[in-house]
């Protein structure tokens, strides 16, 4: 394997991981964009999505695509439920209260999974959903079928999101609410249902991310959402929180950076170096790559 081949292979690895970060980051960024809340329970939605997919595939023996759709619907409903029950009553409370609620929800969901007898604290093997075949892109550089699946599904979902946000009435409402909630309400937009819809959309993407992650890496466990959730949050900030293309770019950048650090022989410092680079980028451009310079409204 030459150096060039290695770099290309690591790039493929990085993009595959980055696409999952991007899917989770989209949920963070949309929710932040619309109600200025960092939904720290989002990583747990990702985890629950993977578990729902696992049970649909192993118990009901349904194919991958149905498992994906069901898990996305389940988590969309969970997202709405979470918003209505936990965040809506706090919408006018100080922001720190909602943030603490999010942290609390995150811990609650993790503990709930451990408490449930048929889930528990031990890891579970995610079943194979596609036969692993390796395609040689160029000499010595391979693309495996599970990576193609991950990238393909992620790409389709991102394009679908782009369509929903920019071409549908609901998308227009989302953008309006994120710009000015009160003005949007005066224009006859139902703010409550728009916010719920945003949570549903973000949660569905997280569920998809969870399943793709499990398909690629083969293991699910109750705390699997913590690190990817944190990294997706960083991706969202890196891309400019509130910006949808920013979340995708941030996720990809983080995935590739992490792999580059490991590739350079610093696998034991992978997270440390990756995060250090991110801090550097944010020092140079505090609003993130796609972030707008917004003045604080008085």
């Amino acid at each position: 394997m030459t150096l060039g081949q290695q770099i290309l292979q690591q790039l493929i690895n990085g993009i595959s991981l980055g696409s999952v970060y991007a899917l989770i980051a989209l949920g963070y960024t949309m929710v932040y964009g619309i109600i200025r809340l960092i939904n720290f329970a989002h990583g747990e939605v990702f985890m629950i999505g993977a578990f729902v997919g696992y049970f649909i595939i192993t118990l009901f023996k349904l194919p991958f695509i149905l498992a994906l759709i069901f898990a996305m619907i389940f988590c969309a409903l969970l997202g709405i439920f979470m918003e209505r029950l936990a965040y809506k009553p706090l919408r006018d409370a100080p922001r720190i209260a909602a943030l603490m609620t999010a942290v609390g929800l995150s811990i609650f969901f993790q503990n709930l999974m451990v408490y449930l007898k048929w889930i528990g604290a031990s890891p579970k093997a995610f079943p194979r959903v596609i036969e692993i075949t390796r395609f040689e892109v160029i000499e010595n550089v391979y693309l495996t079928s599970d990576k193609i699946l991950t990238l393909g599904v992620a790409l389709v979902l991102m394009l679908a999101l782009q369509y929903v946000v920019h071409k549908t009435k609901m998308g227009k409402a989302m953008r309006a609410v994120s710009q000015d909630k009160d003005a949007a309400q005066l224009m006859g937009i139902n703010v409550d249902s728009t916010i719920s819809f945003t949570f549903a959309l973000g949660s569905a993407l997280a569920a998809a991310g969870g399943i793709l992650y499990a398909v690629s890496y083969g293991k699910i466990i109750y705390n699997m959402g913590t690190m990817p959730g944190l990294k997706a949050f960083v991706s969202a900030v890196l891309g400019g929180i509130g910006s949808i293309p920013g979340a995708v770019a941030g996720g990809m950048l983080l995935g590739i950076t992490e792999n580059a650090v490991s590739a350079a022989g610093m696998s034991m410092l992978r997270d440390a170096v990756a995060f250090a680079i991110l801090i550097l980028i944010l020092l140079i451009k505090p609003t993130g790559i796609f972030g707008k310079n917004t003045r604080e409204k008085v």
Binding site: M1, Q6, Q9, Q10, N13, G14, S16, L17, A121, S122, P123, K124, A125, R128, I132, R134, Y142, T144, D146, Y213, S216, Y217, G218, K219, I221, N223, M224, T226, M227, E258, N259, V261, S262, A263, G265, S267, M268, R270, D271
Partner: protein, 384 residues
């Protein structure tokens, strides 16, 4: 509402006090000349509950077998009294003290994890009650004094055994090592393996690490693959090695995989999903061994508990028998006499023939298991 709650709280407290009282009283009143009480400190609840449970199950099985066969010291019965320490430091200290001071046990089996044994060992040593831990591998455990023994080999032995096995049996010339960086056990094994492999003339072509919660191993596997090693040593627990093996096969890494006793779990096969085939790992015993002792243990354990015994069970089973033999050879239940008998014991059990060195660590064989057709096969027994 608040009032109700506090009433409830008082009720719960009162109830638990009664229970605690019962436990203490019950233990003290049952003085029977013909029963020898052996303490155990094994966590049957808490984070490592499965470890403690399979250890305790094995001890109970061993004692029942010994009692059925006539007991020790000419007809006396062995009884195990387990104090569940939940693998928590503060509980462990209390458990050891309770066994020694209230239950007046003559010896203690346990604790299970190294962390817990490190807390219990000085207490047993001070009280001069012989302690035999079946499964704690940390070197410091037996350094507390002459009353502390262990039934399992130390980590450096199994890592070095795999290095010898790789070079002598597999003819390996190059090796890669992937450790779990946030786990002392894994890092330690990796170091010992690297040192021995180099000493024997082998070449380490890649050293990589990952963290417990990490699950994307593609980057480190690409590095290892480009280094093209003959063998890859993966010294960690099944929960990370399983997915790691699966991803290694997916990435097309064609090397022989070597591992340690952390691989030994029924969950391992489902996590690795076939990628474990052809791998070798060092262990304390092998269910595939054709010795009569091992097969009798297997069938007895399986018929009683409905599962295959893991290495913890095998070691605890041996530890229970070692203790029984020591009591017999001591000719009394005097703790000092039992200690002396332990120090000079020669015992043959399911994990092989065991004697203790001057540091009360066992001199015993290491079993190299091979995974074949979803089962274990004995690839090699490395004698000390």
């Amino acid at each position: 509402m608040k009032k109700k709650l506090s009433v409830l709280l008082i009720a719960v407290l009162a109830f638990s006090l009664t229970l605690a009282g019962c436990g203490g009283g019950g233990g003290g009143s049952q003085e029977d000349e013909n029963v020898i009480k052996i303490g155990a400190v094994m966590p049957t609840t808490g984070a490592v509950a499965t470890f403690g449970q399979s250890s305790l199950d094995a001890v109970k099985l061993a004692f029942d077998q010994i009692n059925e066969a006539g007991g020790v010291l000419g007809g006396k019965k062995l009884e195990v009294i387990n104090e569940d320490n939940q693998s928590k430091g503060e509980e462990t200290g209390a458990a050891f003290r309770k066994l020694i001071e209230q239950e007046k046990v003559v010896a203690i089996l346990g604790s299970t994890t190294s962390g817990d044994s490190l807390i219990g060992a000085p207490i047993a040593q001070e009280a001069k009650i012989p302690m035999l831990t079946p499964t704690s591998t940390a070197p410091a455990v037996t350094e507390f004094g002459d009353y502390v023994f262990r039934a399992c080999f130390l980590d450096n032995y199994q890592a070095e055994a795999m290095a010898i096995f790789a070079i002598e049996e597999l003819g390996a010339k190059t090796a890669a090592v992937i450790v779990q960086s946030d786990n002392d056990y894994s890092v330690g094994l990796g170091k010992f393996f690297v040192a021995k492999f180099k000493e024997l003339g082998g070449q380490i072509v890649a050293e990589e690490g990952y963290l417990q919660e990490e699950i994307d191993y593609s980057a480190i596997l690409t590095n290892v693959k480009s280094a093209n090693p003959d063998v890859v040593y993966l010294p960690s627990y099944y929960d990370t090695v399983g997915p790691l093996l699966r991803q290694a096969k997916d990435a097309g890494l064609d090397a022989t995989f070597l591992g340690c006793d952390g691989w030994d779990s029924s969950e391992f096969f489902s996590l690795a999903q076939g990628a474990e085939e052809g791998g070798y790992f060092s262990n304390h015993y092998s269910p595939a061994a054709d010795s009569e002792l091992v097969q009798n243990f297997l069938s007895a354990y399986e018929s009683r508990y409905g599962k295959t015994p893991d290495a913890l069970a095998a070691l605890s089973y041996d530890a229970a028998y070692i203790m029984a033999q020591a009591i017999d050879e001591a000719g009394s239940t005097d703790p000092a006499a039992i200690r002396d008998a332990l120090a000079n014991i020669e015992f043959t059990g399911v994990s092989g023939t065991i004697t203790f060195d001057e540091n009360r660590n066992p001199i015993k064989p290491i079993w190299v298991n091979m995974v074949k057709d979803g089962k274990y096969e004995v690839a090699k027994i490395i004698e000390p």
